[in-house]
């Protein structure tokens, strides 16, 4: 196998690993924002659920229980967000920010209190994590050129949550565009009055949407600490929630384009890691920060000129009130 091909294969492999939490969070964002609720708290929910997943798994020894605990934690954060800005009609950005700050502080404080490891959780053993799944026929496929390598190196060998992320995208697409619930959800994000006067509860719909968002964020968090990683480290979400938001806008609040945006951003990050400290022709060594900033720069540039206007749901960010 030529070296450049080897490089591409390994880049694609890490792209998938990096993109997985982005995909979950971006789908969560789509559910929330399509229903009219800005979800800047993706980051915080992911961080919180990563911590809870690692802690619960460490305490019970079961990653399955850890995963459920993570989903529960993330959904609780969603409910706080909902209580603040659906029930009490607060500002959605402020509420989301508050969740991010809360998660950042709470995970470290609890981490130190429980484990006295400077905010980290103890490392998890392999059997306490979701481990890579080897696909069948790896040996046979490895003799097939190109496709075989893709199968062996890129498609196979990820943990179950990675594969779930693909299902999450299909799930999001199907629910949003093909079901009654999705029709109502899109309607409530565009024009809640229309939903209310059609005899459907705006508040109930929006709570349902953010709870689904909470579940998806919980999966993202669990991936970080008990599947991809082996334990929680402070601030381990590292801005992925914001990148997911950017991907969602980039994908115009549509699941399939958003998936590709997540993969693109994942690829850029993988490339950035690979290029760290490498001398490039003509350019020299690229500072790692430049690569990290690329997704954001790309979002701004592409949104500004190349992919046309991204139109947010009509009623996003506006609290609904009947008598206002």
């Amino acid at each position: 196998m030529p070296e450049s091909f080897q490089l591409i294969i390994s880049l694609l492999d890490s792209t998938i690993r990096i993109a997985t939490p982005l995909i979950f969070c971006a789908m969560a964002g789509i559910f929330s924002e399509r229903s009219g609720i800005i979800d800047i708290g993706l980051e915080g929910k992911m961080l919180l659920s990563a911590f809870v997943a690692a802690t619960a798994t460490f305490l019970t020894g079961s990653p399955i229980l850890g995963l459920f605990a993570a989903i529960l934690a993330s959904c609780s954060a969603s409910l706080i967000h909902g209580f603040a800005c659906i029930t009490n009609r607060g500002d959605q950005v402020i509420s989301g920010l508050a969740i991010n700050i809360l998660a950042s502080g709470l995970t470290i404080t609890l981490g130190i209190a429980l484990f006295s490891r400077g905010g980290q959780t103890p490392p998890l053993a392999s059997e306490q994590r979701f481990m890579p799944i080897e696909f069948p026929f790896l040996d046979q496929m490895s003799y097939v050129p190109i496709l075989g390598d893709l199968y062996v190196e890129v498609i196979s060998g990820h943990n179950i949550i990675v594969y779930l992320s693909v299902l999450a995208v299909l799930f999001t697409y199907y629910v949003i565009f093909k079901t009654r619930f999705g029709l109502r959800l899109r309607a409530v994000g565009e024009k809640p009055e229309a939903v209310d006067t059609a005899g459907i509860s705006v508040i109930k719909l929006r709570y349902q949407s953010i709870l689904i968002a909470g579940m998806l964020c919980g999966l993202a968090g669990a991936y970080l600490s008990i599947a991809h990683g082996a334990g929680f480290g402070r601030e381990m979400s590292a801005g992925k929630g914001y990148i997911a938001l950017a991907a969602m806008i980039f994908g115009k609040w549509n699941p399939i384009p958003t998936l590709f945006a997540c993969l693109l951003f994942g690829f850029l990050e993988a490339l950035g890691v690979r290029l760290e400290g490498v001398e490039l022709m003509w350019i020299g060594e690229v500072p790692v920060q430049v690569m990290q900033a690329l997704p954001y720069v790309l979002t701004v540039v592409l949104l500004a000129g190349f992919i046309g206007k991204a139109r947010a749901p009509g009623a996003i960010g506006v609290p609904y009130s009947k008598e206002g």
Binding site: K178, L183, A187, E190, K191, E193, V195, D196, G199, G314
Partner: protein, 525 residues
């Protein structure tokens, strides 16, 4: 002033044939918003299979009452009976289940959805859209044919004309099985032709036994389509009539609480020289739409020129350009012999210097700063005048002297210079704006929608003031979507459609039907 308080109560409706079944009965409905009593002890009876009108001025409580019936608001007091049964309508869900449908004044449609998606919302037929759509489409097509509700099910709502949007709203209600249909100011956005179409639909609905409640402030419509009518004033039902036994004059009197003149005496006056000449003005909006196409007209001294048209056909942009808010892009304007060329220095300050005063279409956005006090608002735009200042400071005493006279002379209520203008009623806000502009002694007055959201009493006063101004020789350009207003005030009428002038006529020759045809772009004259 005739005392009409003796009409209080429900005597008239009780004289209806007792055999008719009541579809709706409201008893002692009271609703407060904070300290404001929107409905106070309201009683209302509507017989099944009839069209019942509710008239009243803005703020009389009509919409509140209907929103209570539809379950959007909870009444503080009172009982609702449907077909003789006391019911608890605490949500739209409940009211829809009880067979009530409502077409709101501002349509409750999702602009990005198709007609079908909007019509099915809330009754989708199935968990899954594909099978649901087939099911609902069948049902809707049947309804559409039965009642003449002509729509394009595939079209995206934001691309469809308002007339169709309204039909979608009616379909939506029927899809939910509505037997009682409430329509809140349904004709406000329609051309006369579309209104006729709507009324045909309502009549065929009535034939099939649907009970219809029609809220409007247009007395002519009440007279032409309803069977019975209730008048609301100050949150109360003050009178009930059988439509054939009443007259617009009587209804108006009950709405206002005193006699009103519905007709306007136009001063006979020879029009003078042109003071405003608009030549070949075209304009492109920020989105690149040609909102004005080659507009030319003259406006003469002592003349009122009415611009008729459905809202959004370029009238607003025309006013913006003439008043200096928008830059002139193409064509030329001559104001009092001074010519303005494209991209020349032309702004609202300059417009005022040239003798152009402007009563903007949206008084909340452009006419007033709502939190400001009356004395501040009444010199807005003229605050640089020496008569209000001493040196570089504003002189409050001079301002107050001016404003105290102003609110007195133009009957702005309450007569206070230091109340914030946001607390005035719509009519009084409009009187304040008009007073300010008239006091500047303009050569040309641009007026946009002078009576939008203004009650009848104030309308009467505003018309009087405009006529007084006209007899002083001021040229008035009147933009209004109210065809009656245009026809009764103007000397000459031009009609705009999609940014072009599609017709011109003397108001003495104009008929509503002809103007309506021009407004809908069907016919050029």
């Amino acid at each position: 002033m005739k005392n009409i308080e003796n009409k209080e109560g429900n005597e008239t409706i009780d004289s209806l044939p007792s055999s008719t079944k009541l579809a709706i009965e409201l008893k002692n409905i009271t609703k407060r918003f904070g300290h404001v009593v929107a409905n106070s002890d309201v009683n209302l009876k509507v017989s099944a299979g009839t069209i019942h009108g509710i008239v009243g001025e803005n703020g009389a409580g009509k919409s509140t009452l209907m929103n209570i019936l539809f379950g959007l608001y909870k009444p503080d007091n009172g009982t609702i009976f449907l077909n003789g049964q006391a019911v608890d309508v605490n949500s739209p869900e409940k009211s829809i289940a009880l067979g009530i449908g409502m077409v709101h004044q501002h349509f409750m449609l999702v602009p990005t959805f198709t007609v079908l998606e909007n019509a099915m919302l809330g009754n989708e037929g199935s968990m899954f859209l594909q099978s649901g759509e087939e099911l609902v489409l069948d049902r809707l097509k049947g309804l559409s044919e039965n009642y003449g509700l002509d729509v394009d099910f595939e079209a995206i709502i934001s691309d469809t004309p308002v007339g169709m949007q309204q039909r979608v709203e009616i379909l939506k209600a029927l899809n939910r099985g509505a037997k009682i249909l409430i329509l809140d100011e349904p004709t406000g956005v329609l051309t006369p032709q579309e209104t006729i179409g709507l009324f045909d639909i309502l009549r065929s609905l009535r034939e099939k036994g649907v009970t219809i409640v029609l809220i409007t402030h247009k007395l002519k419509e009440i007279m032409s389509i309803t069977d019975t009518v209730s008048v609301m004033r100050g949150g109360k039902v003050v009178a009930n009539f059988s439509t054939e036994k009443t007259s617009p004059e009587e209804l108006a009197e009950n709405m206002v609480g005193r006699k009103v003149l519905l007709s306007i005496k136009k001063p006979t006056l020879k029009v003078g020289n042109p003071v405003l000449e608009v030549k070949n003005v075209s304009h492109e909006s920020k989105d690149g739409v040609n909102v004005l196409k080659d507009i030319s007209f003259d406006l003469r001294q002592g003349e009122i020129l009415g611009i008729a048209g459905v809202a959004g056909n370029g009238q607003s942009e025309l006013l913006d350009i003439l008043s200096g808010i928008e830059t002139l892009q193409r064509g030329q304007i001559t104001v009092n012999d001074k010519t303005i060329l494209p991209y020349q220095d032309w702004n609202s300050k300059k417009a005022r210097e040239f003798g152009v005063a402007h009563v903007p279409e949206d008084r909340h956005k452009r006419g007033l700063v709502l939190p400001f006090y009356n004395y501040e608002n009444s010199i807005l735009g003229y605050h640089r005048n020496e008569e209000y200042s001493s040196g570089f400071l504003m002189d409050k005493r001079k301002i107050f002297n001016f404003v105290d006279d102003l609110v007195e002379n133009f009957d702005v209520r309450p007569r206070s210079s230091s109340i914030s203008s946001g607390k005035l009623s719509g009519g009084n806000q409009q009187k304040l704006v008009l007073a300010r502009e008239i006091e500047s002694n303009p050569k040309i007055l641009l007026v946009g929608q002078p009576t939008r959201g203004v009650d009848i009493g104030a309308i009467e006063r505003i018309y009087e003031d405009l006529m007084k101004l006209k007899s002083k020789g001021t040229a008035i350009l009147l933009v209004s979507v109210e065809l009656d207003e245009i026809m009764s005030l103007s000397d000459r009428i031009i009609v705009m459609n999609q940014g072009s002038i599609v017709g011109e006529t003397n108001s003495s020759d104009a008929t509503e039907l002809d103007l309506g045809k021009m407004m809908s772009g069907l016919e050029k004259v």
